[in-house]
């Protein structure tokens, strides 16, 4: 059998074979396959049965897919899983291998995963929102379980034995009496014709319970780890094609500036042979080296005239957002009603715009063929980017293929196709492949930001220190984790969108960070008002549940009650907790303040995190560590500063991100709760970091900083 026979052929016949013929001489076929994330040779035709089977909602669970769209059995014993998720460091590749291997009952080594090639894999939705673990992993497991059950049934029929006598172990069933074995590779040929493989994966097959997990629950390393440490792995920015040109794009001097005129010929005068493109407001060049492209662009930019509009500055941004709300800010509905509140309290919290700063900036390589457009790019949203590219370039989506090699960091910042569109426009004009690799400055200024936030909180306490009402309005940043998890009398939580002057989008944990910063800071402020310890105050409002469990656990491990009694000058302890997307976190920190330099140093972080049954402990731990440490940046330093639409700190030397020397003593406890479904862990661990620091700072200095980043030298 040829593996391609698995997929019904349709009109389009772009085969991988043809691609290899074109592949750059520096890239042998094996390497190229590794870029695609699969270590076996296989080929397949273009348009796909699962495109039709996909639910229109693009919900991402890929539930009604035919089995053959998910899995391929190789006669050589290899097994390939097709999945629309991407790998950018969060560990999806290993996790999907584990999910498939677990239910197939095969060793992880023989499972290969082909990720995020829109011509070959199903649309599993965007890789965001911690949805791979709760949605995609079960979908893969169901497909793998279906293949396993099919193997048993096929063997039973073949041998004329009772199904109950057969069990799949180590990739095969054994005959109950004779010395015979029937494995996935033996069945590969049959899978091609068997209608079971063309039918939707059943949803009711039993999946292995966590207590019986063999491969899941283990710490499987990233499958392409060796290529990474040897520098062989090709990230999107590393891809090369024969005849490749490098692109550079003319950027406005400020947000909102419009191009009035430009002398396009200036580029070719500076660099003979350069390709210059203007399509509406898009102006770009492509040349044989990026140095030439930059030189040509600089010549062209020198001739550009711009019309600028008035733009706000970061100094006044919070007033601006409050003015620019898209709907009226709802008033506190409880004020009149709760005249019995003994204490009324209100405060406003503010958060700056921040950038994601993935270490690999946006990169995309575009190539046009007779069949259409292929774009290799680093994005968390392969199918969304395909649609975006199709719209921008005027093509039907079937003629656009997006391939996502594992890339250098996303953090919610790479959902859009801008670099791909730029590369495609340039490649179309240049009639050759073009790579767009954004500079760090471009990434700082032209990638979207995590939204700034203005959050108003009002609350009333009764005589016993209980929250009678809770009114919470988030302006601009979003609704993630908007509602309070605490048992309060009455609660009214709203998100009011605003016209953000900066382009904004998602970020690790979305607005859950902003909402937790405000809520958990407020809880400490209210505790002080009630004259209660912040831990006790929270516990009173958390009678039972998973959040209470992590909070109690972190307090115990940090020795909260003992330590807060041992006050030292300039040293503070803080705690915060929270929940989002089915996972629960509680954090304690110790911070030290240097009053002379106004520097805040986080010396210790203890965090307890719980996201149900743990799928891959090492990877989860890495995600939690990464969240905590990444979270130090926006908590303490990160803030995009801009004056009249011009970013003034858009370089790594002016925008401080966490480094080795910022590393606190770190203690992380993962609570494994096999009785709960597995939730993702790459986001929620970030949310309690900043408020815990703000609370520690307030405790040590008496100063409540209601702003992120938390800075002692700034007016709060």
């Amino acid at each position: 059998m040829k593996p391609d026979a698995l997929i019904p052929r349709t009109g389009d016949s772009t085969t991988s074979e043809a691609w290899f013929a074109n592949a750059s001489p520096a890239m042998d076929r094996r390497e190229f396959l590794h870029q695609l994330g699969v270590g076996v040779f296989w080929m397949v035709t273009g348009t796909s049965v699962w495109a039709q089977a996909r639910r229109p909602t693009a919900g991402g669970a890929g539930e009604r897919l035919p089995l053959q769209a998910r899995l391929h059995l190789g006669e050589d014993g290899s097994i390939t899983v097709f999945c629309g998720k991407v790998e950018c460091g969060q560990g999806a590749r290993a996790e999907i291998v584990q999910a498939a291997a677990e239910e197939l009952r095969v060793p992880a080594e023989i499972v290969h995963v082909l990720l995020a090639d829109t011509a070959k894999v199903p649309d599993d939705g965007i890789t965001a929102g911690s949805r791979t673990t709760p949605q995609t992993v079960p979908a893969i497991r169901r497909a793998a379980a279906a293949a396993r059950e099919w193997l048993r049934q096929t063997a039973a029929k073949h041998w004329g034995v009772d199904l109950s006598e057969l069990e799949v172990r180590n990739g095969a069933v054994r005959h109950p009496r004779e010395d015979r074995r029937f494995g996935y590779s033996d069945a590969a040929r049959l899978a091609v014709e068997d209608p079971v493989w063309q039918q939707a994966v059943p949803t009711d097959l039993p999946l292995a319970a966590p207590v019986r997990w063999q491969v899941m629950g283990q710490s499987l390393p990233r499958p392409n780890a060796r290529e990474v440490v040897t520098g062989q792995y090709r990230y999107p920015s590393d891809l090369r094609r024969p005849g490749l040109f490098y692109g550079a794009v003319l950027r406005p001097p400020a947000f909102g500036a419009r191009l009035v005129s430009v002398d396009l010929e200036a580029a070719a005068r500076a660099v003979p042979g350069v390709v210059t493109v203007r399509e509406d407001s898009f102006v770009g060049v492509a040349a044989a080296t990026s140095a030439e492209a930059r030189r040509a662009l600089a010549a062209l930019a020198a001739t550009a005239r711009w019309g600028e509009s008035s733009q706000p500055s970061s100094r006044t941004i919070y007033d601006h957002l409050r003015r620019e709300v898209e709907e009226p800010v709802p008033p506190n509905p409880f004020r009149e009603e709760f005249t019995s509140a003994v204490r009324e309290w209100r405060a406003t919290y503010r958060l700056a715009y921040v950038q994601h700063v993935p270490l690999e900036t946006r990169a995309a390589l575009a190539e046009w063929t007779d069949q259409g457009l292929t774009v290799w790019m680093g994005t968390q949203n392969p199918f969304g980017c395909r649609a975006e590219l199709a719209r921008a370039l005027g093509l039907p989506p079937e003629q656009v293929r997006v391939i996502v090699p594992d890339f250098g960091g996303g953090f919610g910042g790479k959902h859009t196709a801008e670099a791909g569109i730029e590369a495609a426009r340039l490649a179309r004009a240049a009639r050759r492949p073009v790579l767009m690799h954004w500079s760090r400055e471009e990434e700082f200024v032209w990638a979207y930001y995590r939204p700034a936030a203005v959050i108003d909180v009002e609350a009333g306490l009764d005589a016993s220190g209980h929250i009678m009402y809770w009114h919470f309005v988030n302006m601009n940043s979003g609704r993630a984790a908007l509602d309070t998890p605490y048992a309060v009398g009455r609660s009214h939580c709203r998100h009011v969108p605003a016209r953000s002057p900066l382009r904004q989008g998602s970020y690790r944990a979305l607005a859950a960070t902003a909402n937790h910063f405000a809520r958990e800071s407020a809880m400490d402020e209210l505790a002080a008002l009630a004259g209660l310890d912040p831990l006790d105050f929270r516990l009173r409002h958390l009678p039972t549940g998973r959040l209470r469990t992590v909070l109690e656990e972190v307090a115990r491990r940090f020795r909260w009650r003992e330590r807060i009694r041992s006050a030292h000058r300039g040293v503070g302890f803080g705690l915060a907790c929270g929940t989002e997307k089915g996972s629960f976190v509680a954090t304690c920190v110790e911070v030290a303040m240097d009053e002379a330099t106004a520097e805040i140093r986080v010396r210790e972080v203890v965090q307890v995190f719980e996201c149900g049954a743990i799928v891959n402990p090492e990877n989860l731990l890495a995600q939690v560590e990464g969240c905590i440490l990444m979270g130090l940046g926006p908590a303490l330093w990160e803030e995009i500063r801009f004056t009249q639409g011009r970013v003034v700190n858009g370089t790594l030397s002016r925008y401080r991100v966490p480094r080795f020397s910022d590393l606190p003593k770190l203690e992380i406890h993962l609570l494994d709760r096999p009785e709960f479904p597995s939730a993702g862990g790459g986001e929620t661990p970030i949310v309690a970091v900043a408020p815990a620091i703000a609370n520690a700072v307030a405790r040590a200095t008496g100063r409540r900083i209601r702003h992120m980043p938390i800075r002692l030298d700034a007016a709060a």
Binding site: V229, A270, A291, G408, W438, M630
Partner: protein, 170 residues
């Protein structure tokens, strides 16, 4: 890596340069003034050395020049003529991983892995200077290397493990 900046806009004549990279003589014909990083990545197809900032702030482009670490984004091609350059592609000898590479694998010391080549070469350079670095020395030395996935604890563990491996083997 496009970027708007005031650069020489006059026509530049390409020159030939003889470079010594990973023990091999490589000759490139290019305009002067280009960074070693771009020449490695664009002319020599050595893409293991990464671009992260272009201003010496992130360490993604770390290479060894005569055994000392250097930021390839800050060196011009002329500056390294005749110098011995080691990139991540040349670190494993005959398919045998360097102990620092082994240690990074053993500790799973990366998430996206984009900083990894620079981290590994920085650590190798550290061991050239200090075979037994203290914790504080490691942190100080590595502070110019940014990991945005913030895998710092694991990277530190990998470096400690590598130090141990090197001690045992010497």
């Amino acid at each position: 890596m496009s970027q708007i900046s005031a650069e020489v806009t006059s026509f530049v004549t390409p020159q030939s340069y003889e470079l010594l990279i990973n023990g091999q003589r490589r000759s490139v014909r290019t305009e002067p003034g280009r960074s070693l990083l771009e020449v490695l990545r664009e002319d020599l197809d050595l893409t293991g050395t990464k671009y992260g900032c272009g201003e010496g702030q992130c360490g993604a482009c770390t290479v060894l020049v005569n055994g000392q670490r250097a930021h390839a984004c800050k060196l011009t091609v002329q500056e390294v003529i005749g110098q011995s350059i080691l990139t991540i592609e040349g670190l494993a000898a005959d398919g045998q991983l360097h102990p620092v590479q082994e240690a990074f694998l053993a500790e799973q010391a990366f998430q996206c892995g984009y900083c990894t080549a620079g981290m590994i070469l920085s650590a190798v350079a550290l061991f050239h200077q200090r075979p037994n670095p203290t914790e504080a020395e490691i942190v100080q030395w590595m502070n110019g290397n940014v990991c945005r996935c913030c895998g710092y604890p694991r990277i530190l563990r990998a470096i400690r493990r590598a130090a141990e491996m090197l001690r045992k083997s010497s």
